[in-house]
Amino acid sequence: MGLVQLQRQLVDYRTSLYDEGFLDEQFTQLQELQDENNPDFVVEVVSLFFEDSERLLNELSKALEQQIIDFKRMDARVHQLKGSSSSIGAQRVRQLCIVFRNYCEAQNREGCQKCLQQVKHEYSIVKTKLESMFQLEQQILNAGGSIPV
C-alpha cells in the first residue's frame, strides 16, 4: 500500500472516530501536546488510560459481585474513569460514566450492573479503534512518512 494511501486512510479513520462520537476535541488537544520533545506523548497517555481503565473496570466488576456494595467507593472509581476518559477525549465512555455515577448515587445495583456492561463494551470498542489507529500511524512511520495533522 502506498504511503499516501495510508495517510489518507488514517485521516479518514480519524475523522470517522470524531464523527461517530468516539472521540472529541480533547483528543485533538492531546495530539497538539505531542511535539519533537515528546514524540510518543499520545500513545503514552492512551496506554496509561488503558491500564488505568482496565484496573478500574476490574475493581468495579468485583465490587458489584459483592453482597454488600460500597457505592461510595464505586462512585469514586467511576469518577476516576470519567476523569481519565474525558482527558483523552473518549467521550462515549465519559457520558456513560455520568449515567453510571447517577446510578451509584441512587444506589441502584441493577442500573450499575447494566452500566458497567455498557462501559466495558464502549471501552473495548474505543480501545480497538485507538489501537488500530496507532497501528496505522506506526505503519506510516515505518514507511518513512509523517503523520498528517
Binding site: 497538539e32 501536546l33 497517555v45 496509561l48 488505568d52 481519565s84 482527558s87
Partner: protein, 984 residues
C-alpha cells in the same frame, strides 16, 4: 331590658351608694382608664409576642362586660337614691311648713282666748256689779269670732264653792247641772258651772265642768299651772267632728310668775274654755296652701306614746315615705305631731334608668368592637401564618428553580468551553484580518452565551444581595466596541444600522466594573436588536453634566434628524424621572467621580403601554408569545436595573409603539487619573491601541448629509488619530480638496450618498484623480450592507474599499489598512498573545501537579510542559504535602480537588498551616532563614484544577487558602490569566 330594670330595684346596695356617689365616679373613671391602659398594653404585647392568648382575651371581655354591668347598676342606684332624697326633702319641707302654720294659727286663737280671760277677770270679776252678762258675752264673742278662726265656740265657767252654791243658783236662776245627764249636780266641794257661752255653744250654760271627767282634769290642770290646757281629742257633741277643748284659768288677782300651784288654786275665779274643731281647722289650712293634692296630712295626739290618737286625716296606711313634724300648742302636758305622706307612689326614675342603660349599651358596643378586633387580629395572624407557609413553599420552589438553573448552566458551560477553546486555537492559526474578525466575533458571541448563563446565576445572586462590583481600570470605548462586534452579525443580517457614540468629554480610562457595565449595555442592545427590524440602534454615552448643560443634545432629537432617518422616541423623556436631574447640583460631590449617562435608542416595535409598568420585573415579557418568537429569558432588564442601582445610577425608558424605545441609564464611575489607588488593570483586547498610531496625523473627509450619523463616523475615525471634516455634498468636498492646504488622505462616503446619484459619484472620483497634489485621497464607502463588506467591490466604474458598519476601531483600522496598503503583515496577531505569553511566563518554572488520575496527570503535565514548564507529578495529597514542605523549589502547584484519602482542599489547608508555622518560627528566630533558601515568607501559589467551575467551589477554594482555580482541561486564556497573577 326588663330583667335589668327589675333587677335594679331589688338591688340591696342601692341605699349604700348615696353618700359615696362622687367617690364612686372617680373610682369608675380610674377603672376605665386603667382598663383601657391594660388593653393597650395587652394589645402591644399581643402584637409583639404574636403568641395569641385567646382565653385571656375572652376573660378580659367577660370581665369588661360584667364590670360595666355593675357600674351601670350602681349608677342607677346612685341616681335613684338622689331622687328619693330630693323627694324626702320636699316632703319634709312641705310638712314642716304645714305644721308651723297650723301651730301659728292655733297660737293666735289661743292668745285670743287668753285675752278674753283677762277681759272676763277685768269686767266680770273686777267690777261690781258685773259688766258682762250672758247676752253681752255672746254678742262679743260672736263679733270677735273671726279673730279665733280655729275655735268653734267659747264658754266661761265660774268657780263656785259648795258654800256659795245656793246663793249662786238663786242669783242665776238655775241649778247647776251635771254634764251628759243634765241632772242637778250632786253635792260637791266645788263646782264650775258655765255662765257665759257663745251662742253656738249656749247649750253648755249651767253645766258643771267639773262633772265631766276630761273637763275636770283639764280645769284642775289649768288652774294649777296657769297655762292653756288641751283635752284629748274627742267627738264634739253637735257636729260629731273631732275637736279639743282649751281651758284657761281666770285668777282674782295678778299672780307672780313663780306662784305655787296652791296659791294659783286659791286665786282662781273661773275657767274659760274654747272648743277647737281640729278637723275643719286643718282642712281650712290645707285649702290655703298649694299642692295640697300631692300630700296626705295626718295629725295625731301622741301624749300617750303607745296609743296615738288621730285628730285629723284618714288612716289609709302607706308604707312609703313619711315625715313627722312636731306641733307645739302651748300645752306642756300634751304632745301633738303631724305626719305627712305623698299621695302618689314615687314615679319611675326614668333619668337614672336611661343613663345607666345608655352607659351599658356603650360598654357593650365597645366590648363588641374589642371582640371583633381580637377576632380580626387572630384571623389576620392566621392568614399571615398561612402566607408565611406559602412564602416558604414558594421560596423553596424558587431555590429549586435556581438549583436547576445552576445545574443546567453548568452542563451548558462545559461544551461551551470546548467551543471557546477551539476558537482560541483557531486564532492561533494564520488568519487574515477578516477571518480574524469573524473568529473574534464568534468567540465574543460564545463568551456572551457563557455570560448569559452567568446572568441566570447572577439573578439568583442579586436576589440574595450577594453581588458585589469590581473596581478595575477599563477602557469604556473598547468595551463598547466589543459589545458592538457582538451584535454586528445580527444587525447586518437584519439590515439594522448599529452605532456607538461616546462624547469626547468621557475620559479614556475609568474605574469600575467593566463586566457589569458591559452586561447592562448588552442587555439593552440585545433587547433593541431583538425587536428592531429596520432603522437603527444608537448607543450614546455622555457625561451627565454635559447632557444637562448642552442644548446640542436636545436639538438633535427632532424626529427627522436621526441616525437612519426613522423617527425615534425622544430620549429626554426617558430620564425625566431621574433624581440626578432633579437636584440643584447634579455633579457628584466627589471630584473624581464620573457620572455617565448612556442611552440606547432603537426604532423597533416599542413596548405596548400596558406592558410598560412591568418592564423591569423579572421574567416578565410583553406577552408569552414573545419568548417563542424572539427568545430570551426576560430577566435581562431586571438584572440591568439592579446593576445600575449598584453603580449608583438610575434606569428609565420611553417607548412609543411602532416607533421605538429609548432606554437611558446613569452610572457613577471613578476617574482613574486622580485616584492614587493601584487598580489591577483588566486585560482587554484593546485593538484600538495597537493600530491607532499608524494613522496619526492623517486627514479625512466624511461625506454625509445626516448630522447624527456623521457625528458617529467622525467619532470613530477620530479615535484612530485622524483629523476629520464633515461635509454634506460633492461640491463642498471637491472645494475642500482643491484648496489643498493640507493633504486629504481619505474620503469616506456614506453609501446612501453614493447610491443616490451614481453619475455624480463617478464624476467625483474622476475629478479626484485629476487633482495633482501628490497621491489622490483614497475613497472609501461606509456601508451597512453585509454583501459588500467582504472587500473591494466594483461600484459603478471604479474600485472602492468598503468599510462595513457598525463602525468600531479595530474593523475601521483594518479596512483602512487594507485600503491604504499599510502594515497589514507586520501587525502582531492578537490570538498569539496568550500562548506566547504563557510560554514566556511558564518557561523554566517548576510546577507541581497533583492528581489521583494518572491520565489526567499526564495530560495536564503535557500541556504545561508544552509551555516550557518543569513539571513534577504527584498522585496523592500527602505526597504533595511532603514535596511542598519548605524549603522547596516549586513555583506553583496545580491541585485536583477530588482525590481519595485527602482531597485538594484538605491538602491545601495543611500546606498553608505548615507554611504559616514555618513563617512564624522564622520570624521569631527559631529557625534560620538560610536553611530556607533565604525565603522568610513561604507561600506557594496553589491553583485548584476542577471540572466544576461553579461559584461554591470557587469560594471554597479561597476559603481554604487556594489562590485561584483553572478548569480542566486547560483553557489557554484562563490559564494565562490565573498564572499571570503570580509570575510577573
Amino acid at each position: 331590658m326588663n330583667w335589668f330594670i327589675n333587677g335594679e330595684f331589688k338591688d340591696p346596695k342601692a341605699g349604700l351608694l348615696g353618700d359615696s356617689g362622687d367617690k364612686m365616679w372617680f373610682k369608675c373613671w380610674d377603672e376605665i382608664s386603667n382598663l383601657s391602659f391594660k388593653i393597650h398594653h395587652q394589645y402591644y404585647q399581643f402584637i409583639g409576642s404574636k403568641k395569641v392568648c385567646k382565653s385571656w382575651w375572652r376573660k378580659l371581655l367577660f370581665s369588661w362586660i360584667i364590670g360595666w354591668t355593675l357600674a351601670s347598676v350602681s349608677i342607677f342606684c346612685y341616681m335613684s337614691s338622689l331622687a328619693t332624697e330630693k323627694r324626702k326633702e320636699t316632703l319634709s319641707s312641705m310638712c314642716d311648713e304645714r305644721a308651723r302654720m297650723l301651730q301659728d294659727q292655733f297660737n293666735v286663737s289661743m292668745n285670743h282666748i287668753q285675752a278674753m280671760s283677762i277681759l272676763i277677770s277685768t269686767f266680770h270679776h273686777g267690777k261690781t256689779p258685773s259688766a258682762i252678762d250672758q247676752e253681752t258675752f255672746a254678742r262679743y264673742t260672736e263679733q270677735t269670732a273671726f279673730e279665733r278662726p280655729l275655735t268653734s265656740g267659747v264658754a266661761y265657767a265660774v268657780r263656785v264653792l259648795h258654800s256659795e252654791r245656793e246663793q249662786f243658783e238663786r242669783q242665776q236662776g238655775w241649778t247647776i247641772k251635771r254634764m251628759y245627764t243634765l241632772e242637778p249636780s250632786r253635792i260637791q266641794e266645788e263646782y264650775a258651772p258655765v255662765i257665759f257661752a257663745q251662742d253656738i255653744v249656749s247649750h253648755v250654760v249651767s253645766l258643771d265642768m267639773l262633772s265631766g271627767k276630761e273637763d275636770r282634769e283639764n280645769v284642775l290642770i289649768a288652774r294649777r299651772s296657769g297655762k292653756g290646757v288641751l283635752t284629748a281629742p274627742f267627738r264634739l257633741l253637735k257636729t260629731n267632728r273631732l275637736g279639743v277643748i282649751l281651758t284657761f284659768a281666770v285668777y282674782k288677782r295678778d299672780l307672780p310668775s313663780n306662784a305655787t300651784p296652791n296659791e294659783r288654786i286659791q286665786a282662781t275665779d273661773g275657767y274659760l274654755g274654747g272648743v277647737f274643731d281640729i278637723e275643719s281647722l286643718v282642712e281650712k289650712l290645707l285649702h290655703q296652701l298649694s299642692s295640697k293634692q300631692t300630700i296626705l296630712v295626718n295629725v295625731f295626739d301622741t301624749s300617750n306614746q303607745s296609743y296615738p290618737i288621730s285628730m285629723y286625716g284618714s288612716n289609709a296606711s302607706n308604707d312609703g315615705l313619711e315625715h313627722v313634724s312636731h306641733l307645739n300648742f302651748g300645752d306642756p302636758f300634751r304632745k301633738h305631731e303631724m305626719r305627712c305622706r305623698f299621695k302618689q307612689k314615687p314615679p319611675w326614675p326614668w333619668v337614672a334608668i336611661t343613663t345607666s342603660i345608655f352607659i351599658l349599651v356603650i360598654a357593650l358596643l365597645v366590648g363588641h368592637i374589642f371582640h371583633a378586633t381580637v377576632n380580626r387580629i387572630a384571623k389576620v395572624e392566621d392568614d399571615c401564618h398561612k402566607m408565611m407557609e406559602l412564602k416558604k413553599q414558594a421560596e423553596a420552589a424558587d431555590i429549586a428553580k435556581s438549583q436547576f438553573l445552576a445545574t443546567v448552566s453548568h452542563e451548558i458551560r462545559t461544551p461551551m468551553n470546548g467551543v471557546l477553546g477551539m476558537l482560541d486555537m483557531l486564532m492561533d492559526t494564520n488568519l487574515d484580518v477578516t477571518q480574524l474578525d469573524y473568529v473574534r466575533t464568534a468567540q465574543a458571541s460564545g463568551k456572551a452565551l457563557v455570560a448569559l448563563i452567568n446572568e441566570v446565576l447572577d439573578q439568583a445572586k442579586i436576589e440574595s444581595g450577594k453581588l458585589e462590583l469590581e473596581e478595575v481600570q477599563f477602557d469604556l470605548r473598547a468595551v463598547l466596541d466589543d459589545v458592538l462586534s457582538l451584535f454586528s452579525g445580527k444587525s447586518q443580517d437584519k439590515g439594522v444600522e448599529l452605532a456607538v457614540y461616546i462624547s469626547d468629554r468621557v475620559p479614556e480610562m475609568l474605574i469600575g466594573d467593566p463586566g457589569r457595565f458591559r452586561q447592562i449595555i448588552t442587555n439593552l442592545m440585545g433587547n433593541s436588536i431583538k425587536f428592531t427590524e429596520k432603522g437603527h440602534i444608537l448607543v450614546t454615552v455622555h457625561l451627565v453634566e454635559e447632557v444637562i448643560d448642552s442644548i446640542e443634545v436636545e436639538t438633535e432629537a427632532s424626529s427627522k434628524n436621526t441616525l437612519s432617518g426613522f423617527p425615534v422616541a425622544d430620549r429626554r423623556q426617558s430620564w425625566k424621572g431621574f433624581r440626578t436631574f432633579g437636584q440643584e447640583e447634579p455633579v457628584h460631590p466627589f471630584s473624581d467621580s464620573i457620572n455617565l449617562i448612556v442611552s440606547v435608542e432603537d426604532t423597533g416595535l416599542g413596548i405596548p403601554s400596558e406592558a410598560q409598568p412591568r418592564v423591569f420585573t423579572p421574567f416578565m415579557q410583553v406577552d408569552p408569545s414573545i419568548s417563542r418568537t424572539h427568545g430570551g429569558t426576560g430577566i435581562g432588564l431586571s438584572i440591568s436595573k439592579c446593576l445600575v442601582g449598584l453603580m449608583n445610577g438610575e434606569i428609565g425608558f420611553v417607548s412609543i409603539p411602532k416607533i421605538g424605545s429609548t432606554f437611558t441609564f446613569t452610572a457613577v464611575f471613578a476617574s482613574c487619573s486622580s485616584s492614587s489607588k493601584e487598580y489591577k488593570s483588566q486585560q482587554i483586547n484593546s485593538q484600538s491601541n495597537t493600530v491607532s498610531s499608524e494613522f496619526h496625523g492623517m486627514r479625512a473627509l466624511v461625506m454625509d448629509p445626516r448630522p447624527v450619523r456623521a457625528k458617529v463616523s467622525r467619532y470613530h475615525i477620530q479615535r484612530l488619530g485622524i483629523h476629520v471634516e464633515v461635509i454634506s455634498d460633492w461640491k463642498q468636498g471637491l472645494s475642500i480638496i482643491n484648496k489643498g492646504d493640507s493633504a486629504i488622505h481619505m474620503v469616506l462616503i456614506e453609501q446612501e450618498v453614493w447610491d443616490r446619484d451614481l453619475n455624480c459619484s463617478d464624476l467625483f472620483i474622476n475629478k479626484l484623480e485629476k487633482i495633482g497634489h501628490g497621491t489622490p485621497p483614497k475613497v472609501l464607502l461606509l456601508s451597512n450592507s453585509v454583501n459588500s463588506s467582504s472587500g473591494n467591490v466594483t461600484t459603478g466604474a471604479c474600485d472602492l474599499s468598503i468599510v462595513s458598519k457598525p463602525l468600531r476601531a479595530s474593523m475601521l483600522a483594518a479596512s483602512l489598512q487594507r485600503a491604504m496598503g499599510i502594515g497589514s503583515k507586520g501587525n502582531p496577531r492578537n490570538g498569539e498573545l496568550p500562548s506566547m505569553s504563557l510560554r514566556n511566563l511558564l518557561l523554566g518554572r517548576k510546577i507541581l501537579i497533583v492528581d489521583d488520575n494518572n491520565v489526567n496527570l499526564k495530560v495536564a503535565a503535557g500541556a504545561l510542559k508544552k509551555y516550557g514548564a518543569d513539571v513534577v507529578s504527584a498522585t496523592r495529597g500527602s505526597e504533595a504535602i511532603d514535596l511542598l514542605t519548605p524549603p522547596h523549589q516549586f513555583d506553583a502547584c496545580f491541585m485536583d480537588i477530588q482525590m481519595p484519602e485527602m482531597d485538594g482542599f484538605e491538602a491545601t489547608r495543611r500546606i498553608r498551616d505548615m507554611e504559616h508555622n514555618i513563617n512564624n518560627r522564622i520570624q521569631f528566630g527559631e529557625l534560620s532563614v538560610d536553611a530556607y533558601n533565604n525565603v522568610s515568607n513561604w507561600h506557594v501559589p496553589i491553583l485548584a484544577m476542577t471540572a466544576d467551575v461553579i461559584q461554591a467551589t470557587h469560594e471554597q477554594c479561597q476559603r481554604c487558602g487556594m489562590d485561584g482555580y483553572v478548569s480542566k482541561p486547560f483553557e489557554a486564556e484562563q490559564l494565562y490569566r490565573e498564572v499571570l497573577r503570580f509570575f510577573q
